[in-house]
Amino acid sequence: MHSETPEKLVPINSWKHLSTWQQMLGRVKKVYTFRFLIRQMVKTSITRDYKRSFIGLWWMLITPLLAVVTWVLLQGAGIMNPGETSIPYPAYVLLSTSIWSFFLQSYQVSSNVLINGKQLMVTTDFPHEVLLVEKIIIHLIHFVIPLVLNLVVLVFFGVSFHSWSILFPLTLLPLLCLGVGLGLFVALMRVVAVDFAQIADKVMNFLMFLTPIIYAPKVEVKFLGDIVALNPLTYLIGFSRDLLTNGGFTNLNLYLVFSTLSIIVFLLGFRTFTKHEQQLVERLINV
């Protein structure tokens, strides 16, 4: 049947012979050619929820506003008693939790990227990282709006900003890398090792209590204090928070070490994802 030598034909999956690092580079380039799709998907995702509403996108402002009002009321009621925090306690918690949720959301959107995209992935051939980039962009948009409001509230709480505070957005990048890197590992696990993914989710949520977010960095309990001191998030979150509120570089060296580690985690996560995700797409079952 195949008597003729098809010198003009090449295998459709010839990229498979490339090394995983080369494949990763190839995927980044491919995602770039699909940038119009990303734009369309971001636009759709943002507007979809508000499509049937008359006040529309204003909801994106109303929800965080209500949260802020809660904080202000709590402050006014005086129920919140400060610990050893450099800024008023409610401001401290407000800022810390929003940085924490930035990290947690980075993890969550990445770790659900395969499980939520099945219908699209089995009907169309497109780079699946498009879904990841889309989700990260939406995550960033959903982070920035309440953040701006929170900054206003911080001023209300008596926090003053420093000129170095301008670097604040940049200092969040390691948290994004760490969240997405871990998320990409778990994204694969969510397809074939559901229990593992569930445990990972629980651990991520629990990490909040092992990080100085709702309490001050100096912990009296020895055991917890040790964990907090060893926890990379203590430094990654603490650095961003302190830079924003007093312009200082708290534990700069440790921050840089853990930032480098975060980038490595991201690269390893992306590498594992690149290597295995296509194998796992066919194992997804619609639920």
Binding site: K8, I12, F34, R48, V122, D125, V281, E282
Partner: protein
């Protein structure tokens, strides 16, 4: 009947094998195993609870051909098309195509479409999903408008479309991508007869352009008779018949693959094939 065997090759599917797992927990277990021991991923023995979804499938698609792919439900047609589209990996074998050749496939009409958005907005969404840029879609817009014949209904929410209207739009967008290999998997099962006739005429013209071929997956013998220039018959993951004699291939399909059909229904189907008037 035109003979295509001397036309240049567009696509060559060679000894392709693909296995799936029957059991949901084994499916996950093998998933982890293959990740951790990635060297063993492609080994050719079946493990417990696995089966061949595609078994040693080989066929060629040549320029100008409209290849009808028939087979009972679950015979592996869609799986094979997904492998060719690059959606699924294969366990062994190879698929050869021209470098940079564009393949567009329609599997589920509504996939990637948003019900709350208008038909026109969905053109941009679906078009970009096929890898088109904004400029390309803008350039194709009037073609899509003409082809789907939806008129001002194009500016109504897609979620309110009837299945026929949805089919018109989805099909028009796929055609607008100008693929070299066009895979149509049951996508013309819905839609009214006028539109179907228009699609068939268009497909016939389309493959005459040169450098184009179509894989047309359908269980409807009449449609295959109407349009195919060659037929492959699939059964339990294998290609068991491959011929340019459409009538014979379809008779073979009806006689050998439709096991659940009563003798009377079989006879009626066979008669439809024999007496079909081109």
């Amino acid at each position: 009947m035109k003979d295509f065997t001397n036309q240049p090759l567009l696509l060559s599917v060679r000894n392709v094998n693909k296995k799936f797992t029957k059991d949901i927990r084994y499916n996950m277990y093998y998933g982890i195993r293959d990740m951790l021991l990635s060297n063993h991923r492609n080994y050719m023995q079946l493990r417990e609870k696995e089966f061949w979804a595609i078994k040693d499938a080989s066929f060629d698609l040549r320029e100008g051909e409209i290849l009808g792919v028939v087979g009972a439900n679950g015979s592996g047609k869609t799986t094979l098309m997904r492998i060719i589209s690059g959606i699924y990996n294969l366990n062994s074998g190879e698929i050869l195509a021209r470098p940079g050749q564009k393949t567009t496939s329609i599997f589920a009409l509504k996939s990637g479409m948003e019900p709350l958005y208008t038909g026109r907005e969905n053109i941009y969404l679906k078009g970009s999903l096929y890898g088109m840029s904004k400029e390309e879609i803008d350039n194709q817009m009037s073609f899509i408008e003409d082809f789907c014949e939806l008129g001002d209904r194009l500016d109504r929410p897609f979620g309110n479309y009837s299945s026929g209207m949805a089919a018109r739009l989805a099909y028009a967008i796929a055609v607008a991508t100008r693929p070299d290999v066009f895979i149509i998997d049951e996508a013309l099962a819905v839609g009214d007869s006028v539109f179907k006739a228009k699609c068939f005429d268009h497909l016939k013209d389309y493959v005459k352009d040169g450098g184009k071929g179509v894989l047309f997956v359908s269980n409807n013998v009449r449609k295959v008779l109407k349009i195919a220039t060659r037929v492959i018959v699939m059964d339990e993951g294998e290609i068991i018949y491959n011929s340019q004699e459409i009538r014979k291939a379809l008779q073979f399909y009806i006689e050998n693959c439709l096991r659940t059909l009563t003798p009377e229904k079989k006879a009626a189907k066979l008669a439809a094939v024999t007496h079909y008037d081109f």
